[in-house]
């Protein structure tokens, strides 16, 4: 490992300061989250500015800060562009979000849509995919956060990972969706300013012609337009991004939370705000060879370059950007995955009287609100347990004895799962055709085909193959069934509150 750029005391001070800031903001912003409606969908009254900011901030994850430079270092200029194509997910979700808001004005989760639109078996398969993806994303970010803070400042992995996770759990627990969206706004501003500042700064230290010369000499394929793996990755990443957004309750819960008429514009502005981030971050990956930096792990190249070139001041900025991007995504995942479990698992159990002894002194809404808090706490604890370095040889179980496993190979394992949901979600929202069997086949065969591609061709093909197989099955199902679905079924009169 390289030497850290920040003294541990600086790192701990920053960690403490921002943890206190987020928790204080969460408490303040979350005063209106006493009801389940306020806690999970922020009263369904979020405006355009907060909406666009939360869309951009949630999409700027630690994965953006770490994976965009990794894509550039591993797949070259094509890789950098491939990462930027993830903005298409937000752009294409814009019209869908208006449709969601219109069809399900009292909706809470993406899984609820699948249950009402496609049936219970499809719902089970979809829940398995959603929870696997949500937990993979959550755990990968907690691990990434711990590694990054250790790389930048020498804060022990366990301390960094624990503090980040605990901070997000506390303010999400207290403030619910109000706190998540409110902190996202501030985090977006900090991230945008920080990343652009670092990008321009590194460009000054490593001018484009020097970067180009170093790549030609030492890593020529990174500039080659006929780089096979990079060509494969281009649409793979685009479809992975679309799949992530279309299926994930992180994005659906925001569509439910936005004021009517705001959702599509918020997602479009969010996409435009997000677009320059992976390009600026990706440049750090391309600059590494020109700067003579030995890259130890490809997924830490961005922060390593920034910290090495810019010294302590750059390391402070990167530290803050990383903390903001981690917090903006972890809180969203905690809230959205918590909603999924609360509304799709706990609520049916409460309705059937299976949890009659739970919070006996409260009414249904109070019990659900309390259950939502406990679920978020449980998710945080479960994530912390998985991220704990049980084997003592490295952070988290995924890194055990694996010198080449990286964030990309871990995260893109979920690619075919989420990409296989694209077809069923989009046709389900616009077409009255389709069968439950078709949806189940599309989700399961798309996933299987994508996973085969993952191992046979490479991680940079899995989502593409999964999406292609799933979409083909979905379209065949569409043309072979009658338009029988009644849209009113998506808006049942009863609501939890």
């Amino acid at each position: 490992m390289t030497e850290t750029q920040l003294p541990v005391s600086w790192g701990l001070s920053l960690l403490l300061a921002f943890s206190v800031l987020w928790v204080a903001l969460g408490v303040r912003l979350g005063r209106r989250s006493q009801s389940i409606e306020g806690f999970t969908v922020a009263g369904r009254n979020v405006g355009l500015a907060l909406g666009a900011a939360t869309a951009a901030a949630t999409w700027i994850t630690s994965n953006t800060v770490m994976l965009a430079p990794q894509f550039a270092l591993q797949l070259g200029v094509w890789g950098m562009l491939a990462y930027a194509t993830a903005s298409f997910g937000l752009l294409l979700f814009a019209p869908l979000s208006d449709r969601i808001r219109k069809l399900m004005p009292r909706g809470y989760t993406s899984a609820e849509f699948v249950r009402l639109r496609h049936g219970r078996v499809a719902h089970l398969v979809f829940m398995a995919i959603s929870l696997f993806y949500g937990l993979t994303w959550l755990v990968s970010m907690a691990i990434a956060g711990g590694i990054l803070l250790e790389t930048l400042s020498g804060i022990p992995y366990v301390v960094g990972m624990t503090v980040i996770l605990a901070t997000c759990v506390i303010y999400t627990l207290v403030g619910g969706m109000f706190a998540v969206i409110g902190t996202d706004f501030i985090q977006t501003v900090i991230i945008l300013v920080g990343v652009v500042l670092v990008g321009v700064w590194v460009l000054g230290e490593a001018p484009a012609h020097e970067v180009h010369a170093a790549l030609v000499e030492r890593r020529p394929m990174l500039l080659d337009l006929a780089f096979p793996a990079a060509l494969m990755a281009l649409f793979n990443n685009l479809l992975f991004g679309i799949g992530e957004i279309f299926h994930s309750n992180v994005w659906w819960s925001r569509a439910f939370a936005f004021r009517e008429g705001v959702a599509s514009r918020a997602y479009m502005f969010g996409a435009l705000l997000w677009l320059p981030i992976p390009v600026a971050a990706g440049f750090l990956g391309l600059a590494a060879p020109a700067l003579g930096i030995n890259v130890v792990r490809p997924d830490t190249v961005g922060p390593m370059v920034a910290a090495a070139v810019l010294g302590p001041a750059g390391a402070v900025i990167i530290f803050i950007v990383v903390f903001c991007s981690l917090a903006s995504s972890i809180d969203s995942l905690l809230a959205a995955t918590g909603d999924l479990l609360t509304h799709e698992v706990i609520k049916p159990a409460l309705d059937r009287g299976l949890l009659s002894r739970f919070a006996p002194g409260q009414d249904d809404e109070g019990r659900l609100r309390r259950a939502a808090s406990l679920v978020i706490l449980g998710l945080g604890l479960a994530t912390w347990v998985v991220c704990w370095p049980w084997d003592q040889s490295g952070p988290g179980p995924w890194y055990e004895g694996d010198p080449v496993g990286s964030l990309a190979t871990i995260l893109f394992f979920a690619g075919p799962l989420v990409a296989s949901a694209i077809g069923p979600i989009m046709t389900g929202l616009y077409s009255r055709r389709g069968s439950e069997t078709g949806v189940v086949l599309a989700l399961s065969l798309g996933t299987v085909a994508g996973l085969i591609a993952y191992f046979w061709l490479g991680w940079y093909t899995a989502a593409l193959v999964g999406a292609a197989v799933s979409l083909t099955i979905t379209l065949i199902d569409q043309v072979s069934t009658e338009p029988r679905f009644d849209w009113a079924a998506l808006n049942p009169s009863e609501s939890p509150s």
């Binding site: 060509l231 649409f235 793979n236 080449v404």
Partner: protein, 144 residues
């Protein structure tokens, strides 16, 4: 004697007496002739000395080792190499002495074929256009 242990892709180890200072250096690379790199990347890991010099003979150039890294790190990620065979050699310093170069078994880089790459890229384009076209058309219909 130095025993420089080189292994590639987890396929086993070969040893090579190469120096005069007691100790052992271990080097591991993540691609080989049996498991070639398909995207021009591989990771080299080494251990056993205080400081190391790593040199790389990249494919597509005259067979000359070029300096790749010198320092105390124990790992390096290599990317962006074209088709061919790359060779890596490592030497380590302990006390005042350096070992002789230990050459790792060749790292083979064999990129995916262009037909496969363009085929998958084309498939991706078709899938994307289908999704975008479907949403644009249906969203307009719903609005109308």
């Amino acid at each position: 004697m130095w025993a420089v242990v080189l292994s590639v892709g987890g396929m086993g180890a070969a040893s090579n007496d190469a120096g005069e200072v007691a100790g052992e250096v271990r080097v591991v690379a993540s691609a080989s002739a049996e498991a070639p790199s398909r995207d021009g990347t591989f990771t080299i890991e080494w251990a056993g000395g205080e400081e190391f010099e790593v040199e790389l003979d990249a494919p597509g150039e005259p067979a000359v080792f070029q300096p790749w890294y010198r320092g105390r790190a124990l790992q390096s990620f290599v990317s962006g190499l074209p088709d061919g065979v790359a060779r890596v050699r490592v030497r380590a310093r302990r006390g005042m002495g350096w070992t002789e170069w230990a050459v790792a078994p060749p790292v083979v880089i064999e990129h995916h074929g262009m037909a496969k790459a363009l085929g998958l890229m084309g498939l991706g384009l078709v899938v994307f256009l289908t999704i975008a076209g479907y949403i644009a058309t249906r969203a307009r219909e719903v609005e109308a």
